[in-house]
Each structure stands twice: as C-alpha cells, then as structure tokens.
Amino acid sequence: MKVHYYKFSMLFFFIYSMTFAQERNISGTVTDDKGLPLPGVNILIKNTDRGTQTDFDGRYTLTVNRGTIISFSYVGFKTKDVVVGDSETINTQLSLESSILEEVIVVGFGEQTRKSLTTAISSVDVDAVRGIATPTVSGALQGAANGIQINQNSGVPGSAFSVRVRGASSINGSNEPLYVVDGVPIVSGRVGENAFGGQDNDLLNNLNFSDIESIQVLKDASSSAIYGARGANGVVLITTKRGKAGKLTVEANSYIGLQKEINRYDVFTAGEYYRFADTAFESAGNAPGTWSSANGFTASEEFYNSDFGDSYIDAIYRGSEAVIRQTDISVSGGTEKARFYLNYSDFNQEGVIFGQSFDRRSLTLNTNFKATEKLDLDGSVNITETDNSRINGDNNIYGALTTSVLEQPGFDLLNEDGSFNTDPFRFSNPLQNAIVDKSEARTFRMFSNLGLRYAFTDDFNIYTKASLERVDFKELIFQPFTTRQGAPSNGSSFKGINLINRWNIYTTLNYKKQIGDFNLTGLFGISFEGTNNDDTEVNTTSIPAGFELPVAGAVLVQADNFITEQKLFSYFGRAGASYMDMVFIEAVMRADASSVFGEDNQIGYFPSFSAAYLVSGADWFKHTIVTNLKARVSWGQTGNQSGIGNFGSRLLAGSQSYAENPGTGIIQLPAPYLTWETTTQTNLGVDITLFDRVDISYDYYIKETEDVLLSRPLRNSSGFETVAANVGSIENIGHELSINARIFDNDNFSWTLQAQFATNENEVTELQRDADGQFIPIDQGFATRIEVGQQLGAFFGLQADGLWQEGDNIPQSLVNRGISPGDVKYIDQNGDGNIDANDRAFMGNPLPKWTGNLRNTFKYKGFDLSANFQFEQDKDIYNNSLAFGGASGSFVFNKFRDQLNYWTPENTNTDIPRPRIGSVQAYNNQDSDRFIEDGSYLRLKEVVLGYTIPAQLIKNTTLRIYIGGDNLVTWTDYSGLDPEVNTFGDSNASRGTDFFTQGLNRIYKFGINLKF
C-alpha cells in the first residue's frame, strides 16, 4: 500500500513539474512604425487579467506558458496578438492606427482633416489607379471615385472623356467639372477641327498622371462654392508631388501593354449583299437580279452563296497587337530648407486601327524653399508636348471604320501593283482612308506658377500665387489628290493654330485661432484671371504633289483669324468654427465679376453653409461596433458661366463677302440679360466606421439648376432659329454609397474591399414657353429631345410593333404610301390613321440609373492582387449605325451580319423589315425604338497581379513587378462595339448614341516599379 501511494505522488510531481516547465520568462522590445522604442505599451495575456507594460526603453518581461497568446496594445496603434512559441525573445513592431479621421483632404484654397470636413468630397486613391494604361487623368479615374460618372466617348487614342459630377445640369454650357492643379484652374476643354465623330481633342491629355500626388473631387455646393461661377459642375482638385526632405529618392516606373479591340463588326458576304439588294429592287417591281446586273454580275443561287473580294474590316485593323507604353523617371529629395521633385515621363499609344497614335512627353519640376523662418516659396514648371495622329473616324463617307462596314463588298482594296484601288468604291477606299489621309495634332503646353507664403505669426499668414499657362494647339489635316476625299479639290490641306494663354493671380489671407474649446479658421481671398485665344485657320486646295502643308503654290480657299478673350475678377471668403472637435460649421461666400455676363448682370454672389456633428467624438459614445459616426449637412449656390460665349450677350454683325465685295450681316441677336446658371444644392451625409475596419459613407443630394442657358427657339419665319436665354431648369437627385472595408489586415495577408454605388435621377423641369404657355421642346442629335418631365437627352421617336404581315389590315393612308407586308408596323399614337411626326413618343434614356464599382485588393507576403469591376445599369443606347447597316437602311450600304434574318414572303417570323428602296425604305428607316438597345454593362476594368521583391534581397531598394489587364471582360447585351461610346462626344443632351464609333480596347500589360 505505501508503495502505491508513493508512486502516485511521484507521478503527480512529475506531471506538475512538467506543467511548470512549460511556463517560462519571455522578454523583448516593442517599437513603433518608425522603429523607435515605445514605452507604456500594454501587454496582456489573453483570457486572463495578467499582464505588464513596456518600460522607458520599450522593454518588457513576462512569464507565460508556451502556446498562450499575448496581446500588445497602445493608443493610436493597432493592437497586435502574438502566439508564444519556443523563442524566449519576442520583439514586436506596432503599426499606426489607420484612422480615417486623420486623413488630410485638400479643399479649395486649403486643407482640412477628414474629421473636420462638413462637405461631400471624394478622395481618390491615386496609388491604386496609377497603373491603368491610359493617357488621361479621366481614364484613370473611371471606377475610382464615387458619384462621378466618367465615360470614354471613343476608343481612339487621345480621345476625350465625358466627366459628370452628380449629373448634368447644363444644356448649352459645359457639364465638365473645373480642374484645379495646385490651386490654379487650368485650361481644359475641346479644341480643333479634327474632332471627328466623338474623338474630341481633350486638353486634359496633357496632364501627366505620374506627377499627381492626390486627387479630390468636390461634389457638393459648399465645397465648390469657393469657386463661384465655375463650381456648379463640381471641382477636381489635383495636387502634384513635391520633394521630401531626406535622402535623394529615385523612382522609375514603366509598363508596356498590348491592345486588342473588344469587338469588331461583322457584315454580309458579297453574295449575301447582292441577294439583299436584288430583293430590295424586286420589292419595287423591278426584275430579279437588277442590282447584280447593274454591277456586272449575273444573279443566281450560286452567286448569292459566294464570297469574293477583300474583307475591308479586317484590313483596317493593325493585325498585330497595338502597343501602349509609359515610362517615368523621377528624382526627388532635398533638405529642410529646399526640396525638389523632377520627373520625366514618356507615353506612347498606337491605335488598333492604322493611322492612329498618341504620344506624350512631359517634364516637371516642383520646388519648395524655406527662404527665412517666416517666408516659404514654392514654384513649379511643367512642359508637355503631345502628338496625336487621327484618321477620319466620323460617320461620313470618308471615315475608315464607317466605309469598312458600309462600302459595297466584293472589291479588292489594293491593285496588282500595290496601289490603292479607288474606282469601284462608291464613297472611298476604307484602307486608303486609314493609311493615307493625314490628320495630325501637336500640342505644346507650358504650365508655370510661383507661390509665396509669409507667416506673420503661427496663426496668420498670407499666400500669393501667380501662374501662367500656355497651350499651343496645332493641327494639320491633309488629303492628297489620290484619295477620294482629296480628289475633288485636287488635294487639300488645312492648318489650324490655336494659341491659348491663361494667367491667374490670387492672394489669400489665412487665419486660425483657438479659444478654449473653440477652434476658429478664416480665409479671405482675391483672384484675377484671364484667358486669351488666338485661332488662325488656313485652308488650301490644289496642293502640288509631294507637299502636305498649305504652301504658297496652292489655291487659298479660306484664311481666318479669330481672337477672343475673357476675364474674371473675384473675391471670396470662408469662415469655420469647431467646438470640442465635435461640432463643425462653415460658411463660404464668393463674388464673381465676369466679362461674359450681360451688362445687366455682371456680378454674381455664391454663398454656402455647412455643418457636421462627430457623434462618436462625444464622451458618452461607446466605441464598440460603431467606432466612428459623423453626420453632415450642407447647402449652397454655385454658378456655371461656360454656356455663354465670350460675347454671347451682344448684337453682333459678321463679315460675309459676295462676289469679292465685302459684306456684313447680323449673325447674333443681343441678350443683355444673359447671366450664369445657378445651381442650388443640398447635401445630407453620414460617415460611419464599423469595427474600426469598415468605412461607410452615404450622401443624399438635391441639385436644382435654374437659369439654364438655352438656345431657345424662335419661330423659323423670323429669320433666326435660336437665341441664347436663361430659361431652363434641371433637377438632379441622387444617392451615393461607398464602402471601404479592411477585411483582413495582418502582416502576411490583407484584403481590402471597396464598393461604390451611385444613382442619379435627372429631370428637365423647365424650358422656354411659347405664347400659349406650353413648353417648347428642343431636338438634337438623331433622336434626342429635350422636354420638361424627361431626362436631359431622352430619346424621342416612333414606336414600332414588329412588322406588317400577310393578312393584316393595313390602313389605307399607309397603303397609299406603298406600305405592305414586311414593312415596319409603327404604332399610330394619335389614332389619325397616318404615321407621321405627331406619332412620336419618348422611348428611352441614355443616362444610367446606377453606376458604381467593386474593387478587391489582396496582399499576401510580397504578392498583391487587385481587381476592379465597373458597371452602368439601366441605360439605353440609340444605335444609329442600324440606320445604315441595318436592313432598313439603303441598299447601297452593306449590312451587319445579324440582319440576315430579314423578312421575305418565305421568312416572315422576324422583326427585321424586308429590303426596300425609295421612299418606302425611308419610311421603314425612320427614327424609332427599333434603334434603341439596352446599354447596361459590367466590365472588369482592371486586374493586376504584382510581386514586390523582399527587402532582404535588395538593400534600400523597392522593386515591384506586375502583370495585368484592362477591360478584359465586358458583359453586355449591346450589339454594337461598345456600350460606353458616344458619337457626339461631350454633348450635353445628345448622349448614348452610337454611329460607328470606335470602341475601347482590351489591354494586356506588364510593368515594373523601382524605387531607391
């Protein structure tokens, strides 16, 4: 017995000592994100209340069991959990709390922390979009900022984007936001004559994306009110990079990509085309095979089933992938007294169709000097040169893309000797259009500014900035006499030179003061700026062989010089107050005197007020699930003066000669009452952060724009069709929701998700009334009508209900016009038995109901993977290409393949009308909802997989390599090339219209980021 008891206690001791043996002393140092020791860090053994703190040197010791978890926490830093392993030393580095409240936001003429922000401003994560293969800032912003709708109007290299912040509110003016770079509004907008079919020349092409440090978009009235008469469409604030004190940093970024068009058109074969045309002639009583024999062929089943001649569409595409690439090299650095940033950037893009390319070279130097204790200077110079080669991409008879689809098939593009075959083509040789005709534009832009800040005291300083911008836009459009375009004039050469000068000087006084729990800030400023445009155009014909420029030996057809200028003088002020860092209020007022306003209305005043309450800043607020809660409200008025031409309010006579005698005539009726458009916007917003990980921001806004500038209609018999007037009203109401979630955020693995949704309802609420008090609608584009109660740019036309079939009771008035089975059955809306313009009704909307994006970013060890999906939902497209390439178009044009199912007496189960000629064909081809399609789409905008070489391998250097793709997949029902394009480019009302507009490209890219 005694022996068992003894063994038992030995066993017990054994176990007990083994257990005790697991527990041991560990020690270590805790450092902050910069590697400096952190005293006072709490170290807690999880699930117990035992723990310790770090000492003055950041060191600690602790007795723990193997396998337990210890938790390091410190205010302002992220809590870190570590599992106790075999090692006796556990060193930890804590990382900063990424509190969204501390984010610094650039606002108009100043900066604020997001905590104190009372207005609706979207910040763009510039690093996330830096790698997108596009030359324009707007292109990179697509799917990056919420509440901003960005569309690429055409896939042509260098073409412009349409940017809308919270919907369109102007009809005649611009709906583009104001672009401000480093505090100075820059020249933006469209220039030039080679803007064929939506491929506008956008002066924003000159902005080099790699120079940009941050982008903020001011969306509501209070944020943009400080820009007064130009703030109604929102403001995009761009801040460029500056040097940092410290060692010299050299950075090199480069990528190269291959582009391929997302879609290509597909058309009838030559035989199918002749069958179609012959059928059309037969339907009018002609003999079978009429068109075939007119072209020298004999119609037969075998002939109709044959194919011959070149494929025009395949010929104009480059075939091999078109290259896009960019390289930036920057050097930056400095001391406490002087810092600099120098960047050279080179961008190249070939178009997927021959004859298109866009190149840009730019050099930037930003400097900062601390001249004395109180005096700071900053200066910057940027020089950019771009070269843009275009082909005629318009929907006209010399457009390469258009003729490649519509030209009669069956011919060879090149002769035996390699020269272009021009004779048989009805309009022009598609390949020759792409290769030979020349349209080139060169832009030289110089942007320079100098700023000076003098700090009277810490709280009060004065800042003055002077800037000069110069844009030289030169274009040459040349058609040699060997092309169909150039032949009639024996070769023609057009040269346009547009010299734009913009200068700006502003001064602000900045004041801040803290009184007890109150924080006050004040800003008062004056600004004076002007823009001057000197445009010369020379047009010549009969160009001698071998020459391309409008030389002296050619025949002068046109020589014009226009000079125009505008000036703006303003003063503005902003006052803000905060109480206990919890309640914030702000008031802004700006007064603008502009040279474009009519004499009766020269000065505009734009006030705004906003307030915010940081609920989570209160003492009683429990930071458990909701770690941050803030409510914002703002109201303000901003203006839009872009719709008034520089001299829009005056009675003008133009110079028109006849028979070489100088003549004059009134060309513009006066409008001295002309004034800016005023937008009043109310914004309610809420920012919530959950679990310190998920940031949610929601905004609701109501934007009412009044005094909308219209070319209001006059009765045609007066001799004038329109005159400018402020008579319209437009309303935009919308919601914006953005969610940024840091789902995982560890040393090794992190996953962040960004989801943004925005919806905007646009409605025209007032237009010019006629004498009976009825609103007068305005027609634009192909089938766009502006009318009260509808979206700006709603589509208006006849409605079709399939086709008339055998046995249907066709109204007599239509029978008289030649309508019979197989023709389009339009709905007789007004019941008068006839189909005419009075049977039109609204049939679709080009503006999407929903837009948004979903971006996921994963990081695992050195790898990073990011994917961004972008979508537009519930929008219609007016596919005017069908008016030519569809079965109801004239027989002279080739047809899209999906039109093969046209009506014949044997094939009646279809919506595609029978081939016709003459006025019945025109009847079937009227603007109607037959050309309206659903343009909603979801697009994988960008996918990137990158790898950063571990720091251990290469000292003091960061090297990341990545591969990725842009626009890889698009899900849409639209039958054209791309649901995003607009043949009318930046037009305000004529949107969502496709007319053989070149679509976007898929890009596969590879790049490196190097920093040392």
Binding site: I462, S595, A659, R715, N716
Partner: protein
Amino acid sequence: MKLLNKILFILTISALVVSCADEFIETEPTSSIPVEVLITDIPSAQSALNGLYSAMSNDDNNGVGVLIPLGDRVTGGYEIFMTGMYADDLAHIGSFPSFAEINGNDPALNNIDNQNYWDQHYAVIYRANTIINQVPDIEGPEAEKNEIIGQAKAVRAFMFYKLVKVYGGVPLETEAFILPSDIDANPIGRSSVEQTYAFILDDVTEAVTLLNPGGDIYFFNEYSARVLKSKIEMELEDYATAKITIEPVIGEFSLANRYSDLFTGDANSQEAILAVDFNETDGGSHAFFFLEAGRGEVGASDDLVSTFEADDERINFISDGEIIKYTDPGTGSDDAYIFRYADVLLMYAELLAREDDPMASDHINQVRERAGLGDITLNSSNFIELIAQERRVEFFAEGSDRLFTITRLGIADDIISNKPNVTFIATRNNLWPIPQQEIERNTEISINDQNPGY
C-alpha cells in the same frame, strides 16, 4: 503694431483693387463687331446689301474648317436637288434619307431639308427687311438709296416667289426684329396664295421702278427684276401685262454661241441676266452632289435622259446618268444661273404663242438652233407641251424651273403621278409640308393650317 500695419496695408490695396472690378473685366470682340444699328450710312448699307447676296448664295456656316462646301439651300445647291427630285428630272442615287423622301414625293413633316429650305429663305428675307426698313432713314443721295432698296425688294420678291411655289401661302414677314422679345410678340400666320402673290408683285414692281438697267450680272438690275415680274404675272395668268413687262429685255442680251459656253465655271457674260457668284472661298454644293467624284448623291432620271431629241447637243451634259454641268466638286466654285437669256426667249415665245403671234416660233427656234436642233412651229394649241419640253431640256439641273413650269402649266399631276416609285397624293397639290418646327414654334400657325394631304 508692425503686424497691424501690414494688415492694414494689404486691406487697403485689396479695397482699391476690388473697386476697379468693372474695368478689369472689359473685353471687346474682334472677329465680329458689336453694333447698335447695322445700317447708318451708304457704305454700311452697301455692305449690308453684299451681306444679303451672301446669304442668298450660301448659308454662311462661318467657313470654320469646312473642307467640303455644304449648304446652299437657296441657290446653287439644295434648291436644285429638291425641286428637281420632286419633279421628274432628277433621281436620288445616294443615301440621304431626306432626299429619298423628296424623290418619292413623300417628305415627312420634319424632313430636315424641307425645314432648312424654309429657314434659309426666311434668313435672306430678314436681311432684305433690314435694308428695306433702315435705308430710307439714312443720309445720302436718293439715287443711291433707291438702288439699294430696289435690289433688296427684288431679292425679297424672289425669295417669297420660291416659297409660294412650293408651300402655297406663307407668312409675309416684313420686319427685321433685333430683340428676341419682339420676335415672340409678333408672330405672323400664313397668308393666302393670292395675298402672297399680291405682296410679291408689289415688291417686284417697285424694284423695276427703282433699279437701273445694266450693271453687274451678279446683282439684280432692272432687267432681272423685269424677268421676275413677268414670271409672276404669268403665274397670275396676266399674260398681257407679262408681255409688256418682258419686252424691254428682248434684244438686250444674246445667247451664248454654244451651249457649252454656259458651263465653264463662270456665268456667261453674253447670256447671263442674273447669276450667283461662287468661288473657291465661297462655294456651292451642286458639283459635289452631282458628280461621282464628289458625293454622287443626285443624278439624272431615266425619264430625263430619254426625253432628248436626236442631235440635241444639250444631252452632252449628262454622262452615264451623271449631270456634268458643274465641274468643281472640291470648292464648289461653279456659278449658278438664276435667269439667262434663253429663259426670256422661251417666256416670250410662250406669251406670243398664247396669242397665236407668228413670231412665237421664231423665239423658241433661236434656242433650239443653238442646241443643234431643227425648227418647229409654236401656236396656241401646242405651246404647253412644246414649251414645257424645251424648257426641260434647256434648263435641267440649273434651278427650280422644271417644277415651277409644270405646276404653272397645270401638267404636274400627270407627270408626277407617272414617276416610278412615287407616292402621289392628289390632295397635296404638289406642295411641300409646312415644316413641323414652324408649326410648333409659331403660335399663329397650327396643325390645321398644314397643307392638305399631310
């Protein structure tokens, strides 16, 4: 103290700057001139008159970067195409949907070319009204003022004539308002056909009195005003007066030696009575639309091609269906005729034939001989057919003559209803519809005022 001084200094400067705001933002346009009143003296009146003809010759799309001449709704372009296709001379061989409608005699109410035709004629009328209303008040010799007013009245009469022939009665606009509010406050409805012709006759009669004979063929003078007046009188079936009106013109001009001398690019100085000057910087669109080398949108109808007699030289200006009277598609510099002497001869021949005057044949045979054809006998029983035929082969593709002649002579219904692929609706009376936009914007014209058959 130092700080306060600095602040005061800055505020003072700012205040000074702010008070000069108005002057800072003064700008002046340079590419067009601001005016209070367009016509203040003889030189400005002359300028305005040139501007009037300029509007008549093309639609002044500011010439900004336009590489191909387009426009010309009033002369030298669209009016030739539209009236020719609506009648039986021209055929639509191109792709414009609006042209297809016109060729089939079924223009939609919102047919864009119909609307542009209407708008452009009224734009010219506006300029004529400016001159007619303002010139009487300026200082200057009566003779010079009358010359200017006379031309403006002739142009205005000519515009309303081209409107009434295709639309019937139209609004008789005589004001040239400057303020949009005035335009809104003074809408005018359609006058009747009779009222319109009475107005035209008034204008052109006065023009004949005010204008001098002779002068530049590119501007109206007494002779061209007489031709117009005579045409109006023939429309009104006042043949006796028409004969008296036209007689002074006979013998003042002569036919060009050869028909081909007419189409060298410049109007023939012997035969032209009134022509429109087009040149490289100010072109018409006729050549561009007729020639395959241009757009090849409009060609000769099969009926026209087959109507020529054997030996008729004039058929040489149709080549394989292509009309080749105009040869410069690049800049549109071919002149266009409004009236030429052959027109006067045929008018006079018709007037004489109606009275069975033996000299009638003489005049028509002058025209035929020049074209290489033999003589015919013209009298009161055959003149309708023979005159219509001769006018057709002489003036095809030069203006609106075919349509205007067949409607005047009452043979339009027959001819148009026999066109291939035509939508012939008799109640339309061969008129075009009043443009939809005018009806929508003019409170004095409603849907009920639309031409019948539409």
